[in-house]
């Protein structure tokens, strides 16, 4: 029994190791950048970093949940844009903000539901299905906007601009709530546990009495809804939107989640890890700007940092991969 206690502890620490290592990498970057430019750790800059990753952070929660369930959704970037476009259309057409937001959320939910339905019923790879639907959603945004900039002219910047006590931006509350939501859902609800089980071994989950199809539809719908919530932050921060504004977001969310230790195999990875991945991406971008690095080199450097960070955070696995 004593032995068991000890082992128990040991297991837990190992499990967290990957994230701990990633945090160390982040700390290292922070220290180096701060030495060169002390403004980096200014409270306003730190707030700025969080602001800059809030949309990505929210989308990454959707992506991480989907990956953990053994799925993937490459359309979340374009779902976000489509929701934003719907919101902008309604507001610019003179509609009220609450109605616009509600319809925006419904748009996201419906898009996600569609993804889930097709994936559950067709048994096709989610990757390819959502690549296709992503184009459909993008096309819809294009057609609705006619390719033009949608300007809110300050009618929708409450969330993006307001700060509590002049420091803490309201939009961060969205980020925090969504992270906590994803974390709670996956770890502390029956629904979440079943999602993880499906990701862990779908056939086993099926034989264990989980209605796979229904859960898949549900999780993709939630993913769509989260993307719509991201779009609220997105449009209100930028006070505008274009059909192309979300391109690449799905890949960045995927990158963040995977940097944070979520895998394609499903069942693995944590929300906390995914969030650390988001932070790393945000810090890299901000540091590049703060250090005014030659733009042409920024791309290469951030690529290199990602590779190194991923390898470092995986050191533990490499070491014990001995057999």
């Amino acid at each position: 029994m004593e032995n068991q206690e000890r082992n128990n502890l040991l297991n837990r620490i190992q499990f967290k190791d990957q994230r701990v290592l990633m945090m160390i990498v982040i700390l290292l970057i922070t220290v180096v950048v701060t030495i060169i430019s002390p403004k980096f750790v200014d409270i306003r800059n730190i707030v700025a970093i969080f602001q800059q990753v809030s949309v990505l952070g929210i989308l990454t929660m959707a992506m991480a949940m989907l990956l953990i369930s053994g799925g993937i959704d490459l359309s979340i970037g374009n779902i976000m844009v489509l929701s934003g476009v719907v919101i902008s259309k309604i507001i610019m057409g003179g509609g009220s903000v609450p109605v616009a937001v509600l319809l925006g959320l419904i748009t996201g939910l419906v898009c996600g539901f569609l993804n889930g339905l097709i994936i559950a019923k067709s048994k096709c790879l989610p990757l390819i299905i959502t690549l296709g639907t992503s184009q459909i959603f993008f096309g819809a945004s294009l057609m609705i906007t006619g390719g033009r900039f949608m300007n809110f002219s300050g009618k929708f910047d409450f969330i993006g601009r307001t700060r509590i006590l002049d420091v803490f931006p309201v939009m961060l509350i969205f980020l925090i709530v969504m992270v906590l939501f994803a974390f709670g859902l996956l770890n502390y609800t029956r629904f979440g546990r079943r999602i993880v089980a499906i990701g862990g071994n779908e056939r086993n989950a099926y034989l264990s009495g989980i209605n796979i199809d229904r859960y898949k539809v549900a999780i993709y719908s939630i993913g769509g809804l989260i993307s719509a919530i991201a779009s609220i932050v997105f449009v209100s921060r930028l006070d505008s939107i274009t059909a192309t504004a979300g391109s690449g977001y799905e890949l960045r969310a995927l990158t963040a989640a995977i940097i944070g230790g979520v895998t394609f195999d499903g069942g693995k990875g944590t929300i906390g890890g995914a969030f650390i991945g988001v932070l790393l991406l945000g810090i890299i971008n901000n540091a590049m700007n703060i250090l005014s690095i030659w733009p042409y080199a920024q791309t290469a450097i951030s690529g290199a940092i990602i590779v190194v960070a991923v390898i470092l955070s995986n050191l533990d696995t490499i070491r014990k991969a001995s057999r």
Partner: protein, 305 residues
């Protein structure tokens, strides 16, 4: 070059680029930096990499650094409105390059911009005047980003005025050579007769040209836009028949001049908008062109700093 007056030690201007991988933006930024060098102003160029988000981040960073003035090369009118508000809140003077901000945007010094609509208009006008009756294939830029859409507005306007030409095909080459080559090739396959190609940039002009060569239609002239160094070269090589040049170097130096006059010299009566001259040029007139690479010639054109 320019005036030689003494500048207070340590003026620093920020420059938020739309995307430094875009050569138009890059030459504008270079001209801006060149002009700044002439009077000893330091510049911090930040690249938003065509991301609305990163541009906001860049603005946040510049405010952080408390620069003396900021120039923005916007991604969109609304993005620039956002940035202007942020600069206003931070009390930093801001000027805009390339795209005029929307009406209700906050306080900014001025805009120097090439109106894409004007280029589209100039191109149709040029074709109408030099090739009456021409049927045009239009190799357009990427849809959805707002730039091509402005070209289209000018084109539409011109088509109403100059009724002796018409567009017989429009496909999007997405600003890239390969895509333009593919869509031009596919258009040729439809068998539709056309007399001239209007390409929204030089990369696409090259792509369309490749497709023409393949199809043995090399004689069909291509009208491109911008007047980039590559464009000039392509005119020399006979790839482009004409180019609606818009010397971005002028845009860069003029933008700097406005910011400089406002911040350093305290001028307040600056024009709110200066359009960039669009100069239709054919191979024969190359020498007249103010090239992108030559900020000095541009400085001279605007009468120095």
């Amino acid at each position: 070059a320019g005036t030689k007056e003494k500048v207070k030690d340590g003026y620093t201007f920020g420059y938020i680029a739309y995307d430094m991988q875009d050569i138009w933006n890059m030459y504008g930024a270079q001209a801006f930096e060149y002009a700044a060098d002439q009077v000893g102003v330091k510049t911090i160029v930040l690249d938003s990499g065509n991301s609305l988000e990163r541009s906001v981040a860049a603005m946040e960073d510049l405010i952080q650094k408390q620069v003396d003035g900021i120039s923005v090369f916007p991604i969109s009118p609304d993005q620039v409105a956002t940035l202007i508000k942020m600069a206003n809140d931070a009390g930093i003077p801001i000027t805009v390059e390339n795209l005029p901000p929307p009406e209700n945007a906050g306080d900014y010094i001025s805009t120097v911009a090439c109106l894409y609509g004007d280029i589209g208009y100039a191109a149709i006008k040029f074709i109408s005047e030099t090739m009456p009756g021409a049927r045009i294939f239009y190799a357009a830029g990427a849809k959805g980003g707002g730039v091509y859409e402005q070209y289209q507005e000018g084109v539409d306007k011109a088509l109403k005025e100059f009724t002796n030409v018409k567009i017989v095909g429009l496909e999007h080459g997405d600003w890239q050579t390969e895509m333009a080559m593919n869509v031009t090739q596919n258009f040729i396959q439809t068998g539709t007769k056309f007399d001239v190609i209007f390409a929204n940039n030089d990369l696409m002009a090259k792509g369309s040209y490749n497709a023409l060569v393949e199809a043995g239609l090399k004689h069909i002239p291509i009208i491109s836009t911008g007047g980039s160094p590559d464009g000039i070269q392509m005119m020399k090589d006979g790839i482009e028949a004409a180019n609606m040049t818009a010397p971005v170097s002028i845009q860069g130096v003029q933008t700097f001049k406005n910011l400089y006059q406002y911040v350093v010299q305290g001028k307040r009566d600056l024009p709110k908008f200066t359009p960039l001259p669009i100069v239709p040029a054919t191979a024969a007139e190359i020498d007249k062109v103010i090239t992108w690479e030559d900020p000095q010639k541009a400085l001279d054109y605007i009468g120095g700093l």
